[in-house]
């Protein structure tokens, strides 16, 4: 006697396995919806998980680079403000020099001008040693000490470094932090290297009685003041260009941030609409298979025999 028998045990095993599969799928979909994340663990989708890791790293670094750019913008803004003040100051010094070069100005007048020039020179010294919001010197290059100091003879000397460091603001993009003081306040006038401090100080001393021909000295100083104005103006332009660059980089950072977020969302986030539809589908399938199981499992001949 041979016929195909369908063992009761195998029917129950099969039904149980199918329902367990459906239930596991439903739990997974439910987790995906609740957490909003499609990938629970790396092995769910190894390639996507690796991409998510690289995006997470890029995002972490982009956040920091954004902060760096914002701070750089602040520092450059502070330097620009100082340079504006320096330009105004030098212009005032030039007016005074022109005034002093005029013969009608008497000794008292020249004394007054000398006094004002000394004050301006002091202000210039202070501005040259200005610091950023975080207390770092603006024109000292890589040094954290003061940019300019006075030696024993009262001469102003640059004590910073001839280069200023650069800050990474985007992958592969570094922008110089500022300008070193020697590029802002030191220049060559009449073939000799000098500085704005030396020009103003020298003129003040000449007008204060240090020179037999104060008008001539004032005339001679005009060239130096003009060179100082030129140098400060050039520095202002450089700083302004860098600020524009930082702005541009910040805009790019924003765009890239959005792109990264979109990419992360596309790779790792649950598509809620799809997940809910699939959940509903699985629920329907589970209910149907439970109902079918109850019906089929009662289809034993024992129930029919009375």
């Amino acid at each position: 006697m041979s016929f195909i028998s369908n063992s009761a045990g195998s029917f129950f095993n099969r039904s149980l396995a199918q329902m367990a599969d459906l239930r596991a799928g439903i739990e997974r979909q439910q987790t995906q919806i609740a957490t909003g994340v499609r990938i629970e663990r790396g092995s769910d989708d190894p390639a996507a998980a690796a991409q998510l890791r690289s995006i997470a790293r890029r995002e972490a670094l982009a956040g920091v680079e954004g902060d760096n750019a914002a701070q750089l913008d602040q520092d450059l803004g502070a330097a620009s403000t100082e340079l504006e003040a320096v330009t105004a100051l030098l212009q005032r010094a030039r007016e005074l020099a022109v005034q002093a070069a005029n013969d009608p100005t008497g000794v008292d007048g020249r004394q007054a001008i000398a006094f004002e020039l000394e004050q301006l020179s002091e202000e210039l010294f202070t501005r040259a040693n200005a610091t950023s919001l975080t207390g770092e010197p603006l024109f000292a290059g890589l040094s954290s000490g003061t940019a300019f100091t006075r030696d024993g003879l009262g001469n102003v000397i640059y004590t910073g470094t001839p280069a200023s460091g650069a800050v990474p603001v985007a992958p592969g993009t570094v922008i110089d932090r500022g300008l070193p003081g020697n590029a802002v306040f030191e220049f060559v006038s009449g073939g000799t290297p000098t500085s704005a401090f030396a020009v103003l100080g020298g003129l003040a001393a000449a007008l204060g009685g240090g020179s037999p021909d104060p008008a001539g000295a004032a005339n001679a100083a005009l060239e130096g003041i003009d060179a100082a104005l030129d140098t400060a103006g050039r520095a202002q332009t450089i700083i302004g260009t860098r600020m524009a660059w930082v702005d541009q980089v910040q805009q790019q950072q924003d765009t890239r941030g959005v792109a990264l977020a979109e990419r992360r969302s596309r790779i790792g986030d649950t598509d809620i609409a799809e997940a809910i539809a699939r959940l509903q589908q699985s629920l329907t399938a589970l209910e149907a298979s439970q109902a079918a199981f109850t019906r089929v499992s009662s289809l034993s001949l024992f129930d029919a025999l009375r």
Binding site: L61, L142, G165
Partner: protein, 447 residues
């Protein structure tokens, strides 16, 4: 002869009652996974009535209940055993490796490295800011701690697998001893009895139990006993007749499993034990990977430190101590000691040349962040592949199991039909006896 009718009816009654009993036994064991359905053979009983030549017709004797036959299919049994070995190997390996994956993913190995990189990049913006320096140093501390967490969770995953393996060894030896005892009993048992069928059930159950843990080659002898050899390199005998060998398990220094039977070392090729052994072998690789990552971070950080100067212009001191993931720790006492400036820079230099060099080696394509990513990618790809294999083998094993149940399991519909048929046969036989009685009464009543 009315007495012959009595005998015939009685033999029919006996046969159908015995068959009914077996049917009841089958129904009762419908849910018993180790039970193989039984049936009763029957043969016609014919007696010769007289001695001599040209004897008259044979006289009929009814039916003789034969032997209890146990539904058996050696091939299907073997297929079910082999597929369950394969499934057990894949499943055990999958769960163990998934444990390792969780260990490394949740330890924050990768995020720690990225946070370290980010803190250093932030420091580049303002290298002398004490708060930024402190936060960079703290991010190093976190990263080192994450390495140690990864090390200990990986060790934990490893010891879970080892404990499981150690716990299963007595079970295996118990099963082997049980099989040896069944073999001894089978030799003494009589063919065709219910007792022998029960012994054969016990034999197949023990074989299935062994196959879960080790891939086995079972030889079924003519007398029903089973000899078991473990599929391994080299193959080793576990049960021979009534004698069972005992499996020993030892752990190597790197955590891998070492099996032997009576001093003969073997490497199992199937079953849950093979899965555990394979998982532990791969965990050795993972441990090496995590350790070499830690070592490379230590080397990169300390090399960069030694190439630069700290805020006071002094040469940089080592940032990290230790040699592996287990003992990596921060060695630098103060955040001022971070050598952001290159060698030769004066005290208080805001030069970030050395910091940039450190960042470049950390973020390089061969750097630790990329290394951690590769390690995790390799591991999760492996787990994903194991999952796919497990699913495939699960289907194969389920169909082999279904095939086995079809061949040997109890089908309630068949049993219900048998019940009706046998009940009718029983009633018919009792009717035969009733007819015989009436015939006899008729004869006695003749006057």
């Amino acid at each position: 002869m009315p007495s012959a009718i009595f005998t015939i009816g009685r033999s029919g009654l006996t046969a159908s009652r015995l068959s009914l009993e077996l049917t009841a036994q089958n129904v009762a064991n419908a849910a018993n996974p180790d039970y193989s359905r039984r049936s009763l053979t029957q043969s016609e009983l014919v007696m010769t009535g007289n001695i001599g030549i040209g004897a008259s017709a044979d006289s009929l004797g009814g039916v003789r209940p034969g032997v209890v036959v146990r539904a058996e299919s050696a091939l299907v049994q073997r297929q079910a055993r082999d597929t369950s070995s394969g499934l057990a190997a894949a499943e055990t390996e999958f769960f163990a490796m998934r444990e390792a994956e969780s260990a490394l993913e949740t330890s924050g190995l990768f995020t720690g490295l990225v946070a370290f990189e980010a803190a250093l990049t932030r420091l580049e913006g303002n290298p002398l800011e004490p708060a930024l320096r402190l936060s960079a140093l703290e991010s190093v501390r976190t990263m080192a701690a994450n390495f140690r967490v990864a090390d200990s969770t990986l060790a934990n995953a490893r010891s879970l697998v080892q404990d499981e393996a150690a716990a299963m060894v007595p079970d295996i030896n118990e099963l082997a001893a049980e099989l040896a005892k069944v073999n001894r009993d089978l030799v003494a048992s009589r063919e065709g009895t219910a007792g022998r069928a029960a012994l054969l059930d016990a034999r197949d159950k023990a074989l299935r139990g062994l196959a879960e843990e080790f891939g086995i080659a079972a030889t079924i002898n003519a007398n029903g006993t089973a000899d078991v050899t473990i599929d391994a390199a080299p193959p080793v005998a576990l049960v021979t007749g009534g004698v069972a060998a005992s499996v020993n398990l030892a752990f190597a220094a790197d955590g891998t499993l070492a099996f032997d039977i009576g001093g003969t070392a073997f490497a199992p090729t199937g079953g849950a034990m093979a899965g555990r052994a394979a998982a532990l072998d791969q965990m050795v690789g993972l441990q090496t990977g995590v350790d070499s990552l830690a070592a490379s971070v230590i080397a990169i950080a300390n090399t960069a430190q030694s190439a630069g100067v700290d805020t006071d212009g002094n040469p940089g001191q080592p940032l990290l101590s230790g040699t592996s993931a287990a003992d990596i720790d921060v060695a630098l006492a103060s955040a001022n000691g971070l050598a952001t400036a290159p060698a030769g820079a004066p005290a208080g230099s805001r030069d970030t040349g050395n910091l940039a060099a450190l960042l470049a080696s950390l973020g390089a394509a061969t750097g630790p962040a990329a290394g951690a990513d590769t390690l995790l990618l390799g591991l999760s790809s492996r787990v994903s592949a194991l999952d796919t294999r497990r699913e495939g083998l699960g289907i194969v094993a389920a169909s082999a199991e279904g095939e086995l149940l079809r061949a040997t399991g109890v089908d309630l519909d068949t049993e219900a039909a048998n019940l009706v048929r046998l009940q009718q046969a029983f009633e018919a036989n009792s009717r035969v006896i009733q007819v015989a009685t009436e015939l006899f009464d008729t004869l006695l009543g003749l006057r």
